[in-house]
Amino acid sequence: MRLHPLCALALLLLPVAAQESADTEKLELRVVDGQAGRATLDRGRVDGLRAGDRIVLRPREGLPIEGRVTDVGERSASVEFDDAARIAAPGTRGEAWVPRARRAEAPPVQPVEPGAPVLEHPAWSQPDSGWQKGMPLLTEVPALHPGQRSPAVHGRWYVIADHVVDLDSDYSYGLDRAGIDSTWSNAFGNGAELNLGVETNWRNAVVPDADDTHETYVRLDRLSYVLGGDRFVPRRVEIGRFLQYGMPELGVLDGIEVSTRVPGGNSYGASLGYMPEPNAGQESFRDLQVAGWYRWVGDETERSALQVGAQQSYHDYSNDRQLILARVDLAPQKGWDLHGAVWVDYYTASDAAKGAGFELTQGILSIGRVFEGGSSLTLTGTHVSFPEMERWEFVPVSAAQLADDHVERIALRARQKTGRVWLREEAGIWTDQDGQGGDGELGFEFERVFFEGCHLQLAGYGADSATSALWGLRGALQRQLEEGSWELGYQFAQYDFTGFTDANDQLPQHRLRLSREFHTASGWSFSAHGEWLHFANDDSLAAGLYLQKSF
């Protein structure tokens, strides 16, 4: 016999609806143990449950399971399901509707036979441990301090290889990396953490008609000791090499950072030490810095925060950079998010290229919102110019570049869903010291095509860049699997280079990419990709591997 869907829905709702009334109230319960046709619940007589009561269990998958209470203990109950074949897993949520009057009743007390002797309890030997009259006998569970937890080491090690071969010349290039990021928590029984991050780079380049390069770098990204900074010890101290915790904009430090969180969630901190150069060599002990910051938060959820900081640095012990930083983060539960940060340099008369005064050398502002259903809209604006300083933070530039070079960009991105199709739009404009340009992209993402978990992405795009005008198409087919994913992508672009004659200014470019990713529950991750690139009369192949173990 086939049921009409509406009839089936009515039958499903009937047992619950029938029990709702002003005299009953909902009792939420969970399955403690389940077997075919029956289960044990975590509610009992003290909760108002009685033999004969109807219950409904709601497993995560499948239809609700109905049953009847057969036996009731003080804090547990047994039920038999109407369908003897159904099984409810431990933890499954459910409910019963019990009379309000029954909930108000005190649990029945076992009668004491008249004349039975009353036994005297010997004196209690255990102290009350701070218990006072009026407190519940079962007080709140005390929390473990970090120093009471078992020491543990966690993190990851990884190996990465990326190689490129040009099929039309002898050129080849390879970058192989191996590294480890790890944290030893409660390393010395005092709740402190010991952090280590180190990576080795092997770089090889074979360049026709030029010197080949074979370089090896060992980069120490982090070796630090952290004490405090938890809910028991609001003062946090980190010493060693580390990215500054309170305000990452201040950069990596060989030194010490001290920060404190005050009641309510506000925090402040200061740091002192040397800044290693941000490159593979990481030369240090030439740039001394002292910095401080303060962070205000709306409340302890930290969904709104304003932070200001200042950094004074010295290059070879000579005055170098005076930097003022500010950032704001607003992320309400519902509504528009706003994130912004500014880097403002203060120059003196000795800064010849810039002249005395303040300059906004870097800024980013992003306003966005994710709407119900997943659609989103984001507007981002950025500004970057070269700050004048002696420290190495970028490839040396000329005085003219230092004075004039800048780039600003405003970009709008939107994503909407209609049925099984996501529509994606991007548009941006930029300006720099030499000109301006813009770009746009329109894309479609189709869900569940060909196979379950398979997505198809198609996009068309165009741009007016500093060197060329271009248009292109790209497509990607991706399938998510239980243990990873694979992706096949193709991109075509047609470039029209600026400054060339009509005969030589056109360049079509084709790019084909295949990638596969695996991961396991035990913490192994592996991915591989291969890429073929064809442009003009040239073909190149690129391949990469990534292996990681989390522990």
Binding site: V141, R149, L470, S550
Partner: protein
């Protein structure tokens, strides 16, 4: 120029003060189990099943049963994807504070921002939750001043962005000589420097090939 900057500075200061005024509010409404209150277990257990042995080893409440499984999305409404689904609970739920407040700050709430704030908080533009490896860099450059044409599309990031190895990205000047200064110095047949051919490389070269030169 300095006058404009001063006005900009004053405007920023005003916005900052306004935001500060909005931000500094009382914390009376802070629910239990937040940073300070109660100092109970790092996870509130109020809504957990009454039978502790469902999750814990008997007589050892700090140890979870080997077969412990927890459907984070079903129980909390917050799905864990990629590497997060395989992470130890204590990596997020620990003594540093409530996981919710860190999650509200986005990725940087838990993960160190190696880019030092320069890229904002949209980490998923370049990173996925499955691994740290960035993706889609060629596509991303189609929205910059210098789309990656020819060999540039298969060149390592750090060749144009020194500092990229440690997450410090500075915009590269699209002028060829900013990256190819050493190539220019080697170009002696003909002698580029001697002839004054030190800029506007595009008059003769296409930015597409590993070969030394293709005259057009």
């Amino acid at each position: 120029m300095n006058g404009t900057l001063r006005k900009l500075g004053l405007a920023l200061l005003g916005c900052g003060l306004l935001a500060t005024a909005c931000a500094i509010r009382g914390s009376e409404s802070v629910p239990r189990h937040m940073w300070w209150a109660g100092l109970g277990p790092v996870l509130p257990h109020d809504s957990f099943p009454a039978d502790c042995s469902l999750c814990h080893v008997s007589n050892e409440w700090q140890t979870l049963k080997p077969e412990f499984a927890y459907d984070h999305e079903q129980e909390t409404g917050y799905a864990l994807r990629g590497a997060h689904a395989r992470a130890l609970c204590l990596r997020c739920h620990n003594d540093r504070g409530p996981a919710g407040s860190f999650a509200a700050q986005g990725c940087a709430g838990c993960h160190a921002d190696l880019h030092r704030g320069g890229f904002g908080n949209e980490c998923t533009r370049c990173h996925q939750e499955t691994s740290w490896e960035p993706f889609g860099m060629v596509e991303l450059h189609d929205h910059t001043r210098l789309p990656l044409t020819g060999v540039h599309a298969v060149t390592q990031c750090w060749r144009c962005h020194p500092g990229g190895e440690v997450g410090k990205f500075v915009p590269a000047d699209p002028e060829c000589s900013s990256c190819h200064a050493s190539d220019l110095a080697r170009a002696t047949v003909p002698n580029h420097a001697g002839l004054g051919w030190v800029d506007h490389c595009g008059r003769c070269h296409l930015p597409t090939t590993w070969q030394q030169a293709e005259i057009h």
